[in-house]
């Protein structure tokens, strides 16, 4: 049986993709709690199958697709209020779907190689989490999106809360409350936007497709104030998730306390969903407000880049360091999104995937060390390269990828973003570049302190290298890091269509920014007629 024809339950591909992990989790419920082998088998099988489905989708995807309409399904869910079960992918979401399925496989592989209590629950939580993530990525109905968005919260809450470190309760509550606060705001915004849509068009719909059409055709007919509020609510929800400075404080706590798998998924996928949300919802739906407040976001992003890097440099805990590096890197992505030029957007999308891979790998490897030594302090290691050569190699690859060494994926993403931003605003690009340099410093320092040099801590003598399961988990990531660095074209092609669409939406934004690089009044002068004429393909 080939995967090409595999349609479990006769459902369509996207539904299968989203709910296959849930089915796996349900199957797990029938295994005895003590059966580790069963948990491993079911978890791995499910995640592999899910990956296979995502791969099949990718193979059948036409890169020219400009809007999230591929493999679309559209059924009534709550017809009384015009809420639909509407799924579809474009290049942007598909790239992230692939990232998600790959990382989940990775995480489960790694978990097989480490001693984890209550493994059944652990695996089930990750599978449910995967459903939430995939659902958020393919949902086109805003309410459906919100449902998946919230569904992600609970498994993550459990993952950190049950399998986390000492201060896990504090960390997980903080994570939960921050994210929930943002998303509840978005919830009201969704309701309000639906109301606006109802008033403007006379029919009830929560569909992003309908909304985008209304937004781009001008039928939306929002007052600037209302649009600003809506944009603010959406953006806030996503920025918390990203997380952009100053909303980032939950992230280091969550990362430090989360178990390895949690960290990988958190950094690899969950944060990306923030930027994905910006690209998919906030900016296209409220282009005028986006144009008006874009520079403000840019400023926050710049602060985030420098601040994240700066704080990372001061960390002694490896995980915290990587966490802060994420703050910095994702701020760069946000900057790219705000800049809105073709290169910047491509770079942003590319970097989203790339960062998922590199940071995921970094967390994975830190996790490997932690599982052996139960410490993450850099001072507790030192010169362990000889003891753990494979780990060291992989770590160096990941770190270099993260730093943006040419030939690895990070370089492509950062280069594109910086190039794009440069077109828009030289000063921004300059400041952002500083962040990159700082990034190189702290990551290299980390490698220096932990791996190179003489062995300083006696306890590390018994350190064992990465085992087969863990290696199996790390392997795909390394491969992808290198592959994307050498052949970025496939990924760029994949997202090309959606980037063009996004670019069209953000053209006026870029124009506005270019026209007046700084100063508030630049935004005031932005007029509606600067928006491009609505195009048919935006609608569908």
């Amino acid at each position: 049986m080939s995967f090409a024809t595999f349609h479990p339950f006769g459902a369509d591909l996207l539904t299968t993709l989203v709910f296959l992990p849930t089915v796996g989790a349900l199957v797990l419920a029938f295994f005895p709690a003590s059966s580790k082998a069963g948990a491993k088998a079911v978890g791995l099988l499910t995640s592999f199958l899910t990956f296979a489905v995502s791969a099949k989708i990718t193979l059948g995807f036409d890169p020219a697709t400009a809007t999230p309409s591929a493999f679309a399904i559209d059924r009534a869910w709550i017809p009384r209020f015009g809420i639909r079960y509407q799924l579809g992918v474009d290049g942007l979401s598909l790239a992230l779907v692939l990232l998600t399925t790959v990382l989940t496989v990775s995480v489960l592989l790694v978990s097989c190689g480490q001693e984890i209590e209550k493994l059944r629950g652990y695996v089930a939580a990750f599978l449910l989490l995967e459903t939430g993530m995939l659902g958020s990525l393919v949902a086109l109905d805003t309410l459906l999106f919100y449902v998946f968005w919230e569904v992600m919260l609970v498994p993550m809450y459990f993952i950190i809360g049950i399998w986390g470190g000492k201060r896990r309760i504090y960390a997980t509550m903080k994570f939960f409350l921050f994210t929930m606060a943002g998303s509840l705001l978005m919830f009201v915004a969704i309701l309000y936007a639906a109301n606006v849509h109802l008033k403007a068009t006379g029919f009830q719909s929560f569909s992003l497709v309908d909304w985008t059409r209304a937004a781009s055709s001008g039928a939306w007919n929002l007052t600037p104030g209302a649009e600003a509020l809506l944009f603010g609510a959406f953006t806030l929800a996503f920025l918390v998730k990203v997380p952009l400075w100053p909303l980032h404080t939950w992230l280091p706590d969550a990362h430090v306390e989360a178990p390895t798998g949690g960290s990988i998924i958190l950094a690899g996928v969950l944060l990306k969903l923030g930027t994905y949300g910006l690209l998919r919802f906030a900016f296209p739906l409220f282009p005028r407000a986006a144009a008006r407040y874009g520079p403000l976001l840019a400023v926050l992003a710049l602060v985030g880049i420098v601040y994240g890097a700066w704080v990372a440099a001061a960390q002694k805990d490896m995980k915290k360091l990587v966490a802060y590096s994420s703050v910095s890197h994702l701020a760069l992505v946000v900057l790219g999104i705000v800049a809105g030029t073709g290169a910047a957007l491509s770079g942003a999308v590319f970097q989203m995937v790339g960062h998922g891979l590199t940071t995921g790998l970094l967390f994975l490897l830190v996790g490997v060390l932690y599982s052996r030594r139960h410490t993450r302090e850099m001072a507790d290691f030192g010169g362990i390269a000889a003891r753990v050569p494979v780990t060291t190699t992989l770590f160096v690859v990941a770190a270099l990828g993260s730093i943006g060494l040419p030939g690895l994926n990070g370089f492509i993403g950062e280069f594109l973003i910086l190039g794009g931003v440069f077109q828009v605003n030289v000063a921004w690009a300059a400041i952002a570049a500083t962040g990159m340099i700082l990034g190189a410093i702290y990551l290299l320092t980390l490698i220096q302190k932990v791996f190179w040099g003489p062995e300083t801590v006696p306890a590390n003598r018994s350190l064992t290298d990465i085992n087969a399961w863990e290696l199996a988990g790390a392997f795909p990531l390394v491969v992808l890091i290198v592959l994307l660095g050498v052949f970025p074209r496939p990924l760029l092609n994949l997202v090309d269509g959606s980037v063009k669409t996004l670019q069209r939406v953000s053209a006026p934004r870029a124009a506005a920014v270019i026209a007046r690089p700084a100063g508030k009044d630049a935004f005031e002068r932005l007029e509606v007629h600067e928006l491009p004429a609505p195009r048919e393909e935006i609608a569908r």
Binding site: A33, W77, Y146, L184, V188, Y192, N195
Partner: protein, 486 residues
């Protein structure tokens, strides 16, 4: 006046569920008196009666008994809610009562009577019938509150509930009297639009006072701020299986009656002084309930304050008072019934006994030991917090949506804020269950077949309605048919 003692088959069929409930309740009373060894089977008898009552319920519409009661989608809805709530209380309660040697027939009989009163109350088109239904329901609950009459807390709870309830009854009567005096009838069907349409210009103070009294009385039953005082005490002291019923269906019933009366008096839209009033009640209930719940260390008290907050969300729908809001609140309330019932059943299953306090800390580590009950409790906490994909989310969504559509964005925001606060204490329960090591040994009720069924049923409903809410929405839509012309 209809003919003397003329009862048609249609009349009887209309109240068939109540008749079945009353007959079976009497049967159980008789069995308890004359066939005591059959006590173990009482839960099953009660469940059978619920099933029969449900079968006896009809979908037809119309008024019966000379226009005193009606059969409609709404009465069908409350039948389902009331019967469901009793069923859950019976399923979950039997084991706990058995453990304490209090498995008397009166428990089931009173529950059935209470449900009959509840259905009658919502079915009532005449305010007198509404009053009688309310009293029938309440009287049975007063007694159930003191079911463990040797436990001081239980009798105290009964006393407080009784005094508050009696006071509420007096208020309700004052309101009914005023409505009768000013508008000349107690039939809701005849009241239709009298208040806003008649020649009392511009504003009838007495009528307003009467309506206020009715609102206050029903708010007592719903436990809305500032009429919430009794709820925490009563919840804490009352027998947990009985709280399962008390905290769910009666609130739903009172809220529906409130809706009906308001709709009868103001068929077009809620006029000026009333909408802000309900908005204030809603905001106070949400904020007060949630904030105070944060500081509770007794599980049942916490759930009581949570209930106050939940009813605050429902009050948003009252302030909105559109057809959509009504549909939304029906969904919300159905979800609330299942969710809250699950929570209290779990509390009963996870507590050391009625005579013990229900400290939150005692839950520590019980997730492993009692996975079924703990899972149900976890799920209900998530649903109460309004997280998808549970029914709690759908309900809140519909209520907030209606509010936003009616231009009450502020209320929706307050509701959302409340939800955020509520996460703080709902998750504490989850944390205790799963993330904390047990502190002390607690001897629990063994999980029996009935309570297991209850947990599975509630969990399945919470999820199923959250994912596929259509059936529930259809039910709500049928029940909201009374809200025509909005």
């Amino acid at each position: 006046m209809t003919g003397f003692f003329q009862v048609t088959g249609a009349d009887l069929a209309c109240v068939a569920p109540e008749i079945v409930l009353a007959l079976f309740a009497s049967l159980i009373l008789l069995l308890d008196a004359f066939a005591r060894p059959l006590r173990t089977f009482f839960p099953y008898v009660a469940l059978l009666s619920l099933a029969l009552a449900n079968l006896a319920g009809r979908d037809s519409t119309g008024t019966f008994f000379a226009g005193a009661v009606e059969s409609s989608g709404l009465s069908r809805y409350i039948e389902l809610v009331a019967l469901g709530a009793v069923a859950l209380a019976v399923l979950g309660g039997a084991a706990a009562l058995e453990r304490d040697g209090r498995n008397q027939g009166e428990f089931y009989a009173l529950l059935l009577f209470s449900a009959a009163g509840l259905i009658l109350m919502v079915r009532g088109v005449d305010l007198l019938v509404v009053f009688l239904g309310l009293e029938l329901m309440s009287l049975a609950l007063y007694v159930l509150a003191a079911w463990y009459r040797d436990v001081p807390a239980a009798t105290e709870a009964a006393l407080k509930y009784f005094l508050m309830g009696a006071l509420a009854s007096a208020f309700l009567l004052y309101g009914v009297a005023t409505v009768y005096g000013r508008l000349g009838t107690t039939r809701l069907t005849r009241l239709q639009g009298l208040a806003s349409g008649h020649s009392l210009v511009p504003f009838d103070v007495l009528l307003a006072a009467g309506l206020l009294a009715i609102v206050a009385a029903l708010s007592f039953k719903i436990a809305l701020v500032p009429f919430h005082g009794w709820a925490p005490d009563v919840y804490q002291g009352m027998t947990t299986p009985a709280v399962t019923f008390l905290s769910t269906a009666p609130k739903v019933g009172a809220l529906l009656v409130l809706f009906r009366i308001l709709h009868a008096l103001f068929p077009s839209s809620l006029p000026e002084p009333w909408r802000p009033l309900f908005a204030i009640i809603a905001v106070l209930s949400i904020l007060f309930g949630n904030v105070v719940a944060l500081s509770q260390r007794d599980l049942k008290r916490m759930l009581a304050y949570s209930g106050i907050a939940q009813m605050g969300y429902a009050a948003i729908a009252v302030a909105t008072l559109t057809r959509e809001a009504f549909e939304g609140v029906l969904v919300f309330l159905a979800g609330y019934v299942v969710t809250n019932a699950a929570a209290f059943l779990a509390v009963a299953a996870l507590s050391a006994g009625e005579k013990e306090p229900h400290a939150l800390g005692d839950l520590a580590g019980l997730g492993r030991r009692h996975p079924v009950a703990a899972s149900a409790l976890t799920l209900s906490m998530l649903s109460l917090a309004g997280l998808p994909p549970t029914v709690g989310f759908i309900g809140k969504f519909l209520v907030f949506r209606a509010a936003v559509d009616a231009g009450l964005v502020g209320l929706a925001l307050i509701g959302v804020l409340g939800s955020l606060i509520s996460v703080g204490y709902y998750l504490r329960v989850v944390y205790m269950l799963w993330m904390k090591e047990p502190v002390r040994e607690v001897s629990l009720v063994p999980e029996d077949l009935l309570s297991g069924a209850a947990f599975l049923l509630t969990s399945a409903l919470m999820l199923a309605w959250g994912v596929f809410p259509r059936a529930l929405l259809e039910l709500a839509r049928g029940a909201a048919a009374a809200f025509t012309g909005r």
